[in-house]
Symmetry: C2
Subunit: 329 residues, 2 copies
Amino acid sequence: MGGAKIITPMRAITFTDELRVTQSQPKPDPRETESLVRVRLAGICNTDIEITKGYMGFRGVLGHEFVGTAESGPFAGKRVVGEINAACGHCVMCLSGNRTHCLNRTVLGIHDRNGAMADYLSLPHENLHPVPDSVSDQQAVFTEPLAAALEILEGVHIRPSERVVVVGDGKLGQLVAQVIALVGADLTVVGRHAQKLALVQRRGINTCLEGDAARLRGADVVVDCAGSAGGFALAAQLVRARGRVVLKSTIQGAHTVSLTPLAVNEVTLIGSRCGPFPAALRLLERGAVDVESLVSEVYPLHSGVAAFARAQAPGVMKVLLDAGYNADS
Amino acid sequence: MGGAKIITPMRAITFTDELRVTQSQPKPDPRETESLVRVRLAGICNTDIEITKGYMGFRGVLGHEFVGTAESGPFAGKRVVGEINAACGHCVMCLSGNRTHCLNRTVLGIHDRNGAMADYLSLPHENLHPVPDSVSDQQAVFTEPLAAALEILEGVHIRPSERVVVVGDGKLGQLVAQVIALVGADLTVVGRHAQKLALVQRRGINTCLEGDAARLRGADVVVDCAGSAGGFALAAQLVRARGRVVLKSTIQGAHTVSLTPLAVNEVTLIGSRCGPFPAALRLLERGAVDVESLVSEVYPLHSGVAAFARAQAPGVMKVLLDAGYNADS
């Protein structure tokens, strides 16, 4: 071929100074170590919404939850999902087996790497996982947040006999509750929305409105999925002395909290972020976790701005973006 | 005897609306399960100073660091030190082996129990530990804070090969540094006071002024002993991804901090309070920890107000109060 590279435009949802849909985002030009992926579905996560408020200072194509079809690389022609942290492979964190914490990482749609709300994305081959045939697109797009929920069990030993409280009845809280319920723990989800809590109750998990949460004091483990500064304060109140608080919320800006109760009560606080994709795919394949009922609406990619507005409306759970790609068409 | 109880007055340092020395504090009247202890020396801790700022809302006789002579109970006539948490023995925390977190506890000089800055105190027999003859009074009075430093090793596995940073060069930081140095870790103490850091250097431990702390980033374990809101923020900056922060500071009021880096970097935060007295006494008996050089000044009990002022002056380490009791006199 040789000569100047031809830049092919594609559609994408970008955040620069504002959220917008563009028709002229350059199609990714993958390196030798990367696959090109045609996006089928992408999900809107609270992190995407936080980014539009300034979180991480990210500018570019949004989105890190997706299912697509690989167009190059070892999985060409197959449906794939992808881990979002692209690692250098040679820093101290990579060499110590902590690739999701690579010091030089780029992160799909979050840090220095364009994301999944587009016709195409690129990721290192090693980040991709083929999707089993029995797992639908609408299930597979939940692989990333489900893996993030499973990261709690990677970081904390939750015993079947323990009493666990999940603070937050949103998208993440719903997945976290389902995962913790799998180990048999005595589980209650605390939230502010009767409608969202009803979704939890349908799975045989106890629920509690935030105003009544004081009765849950003394919990062995509390998971903060509230996505707001108040979630941590409530978690710190509900956990027993020498108990554990898992911090899943990533929010923009500072908290005003007293940390002293954590010292006095010798609480352990465990930060938790991205998790194991293979385990998430196994649970989806086994039908052990119900994700499809969490889908509130599916918007076409070109209605991305409306989709973001809808994702922040009361009572709305997961909003998906459909890139309009059908392998059969 | 029968009839009305005779109230015997004694000297004490009390905090009500203000700090004062009184001659008319009623001498403790121990229950059957408690020993009466004649105080020999008491130490001023930052927690005492925080109490005079409103921490814990405590009112009464201050002081929880002491060495004394038991005048009743199983150790009558012997020198003793005492664990500060008096437990009920029948709550869920006591029954699960967490007596320092008893739900009904009183705490010497901190919560619902008069403290050690007085001629006498009372504590449950089970809280007392006899002091080996080879351990001096000025060493023994450090048993409680040394045990609190050892609580870090109870709660966190610090490996000899790990890089550890202690934030804070004050009384607690000095003890914590000595304890962590014992396990062979690669240790640096960060502080604001060249004079206090020099004390650390004399023990062969690395030091760093706070302004240069950025070079210590990536530490496996960071211990916050700063006793100020800034200590936590610095600890969160210096710890590596998936590292551990130990929270020792107990301060009055709220912090304004972002907890999000703890989630993103999957940091574990471990609160740590009171620790094992027998281990602290073993280290003192073995001469493995040098505490006497941390004593800045000894005041007579009746000069308690001046002693508290001195304890907050720049460059001053441990200030002791001498109740003037000499078993030989």
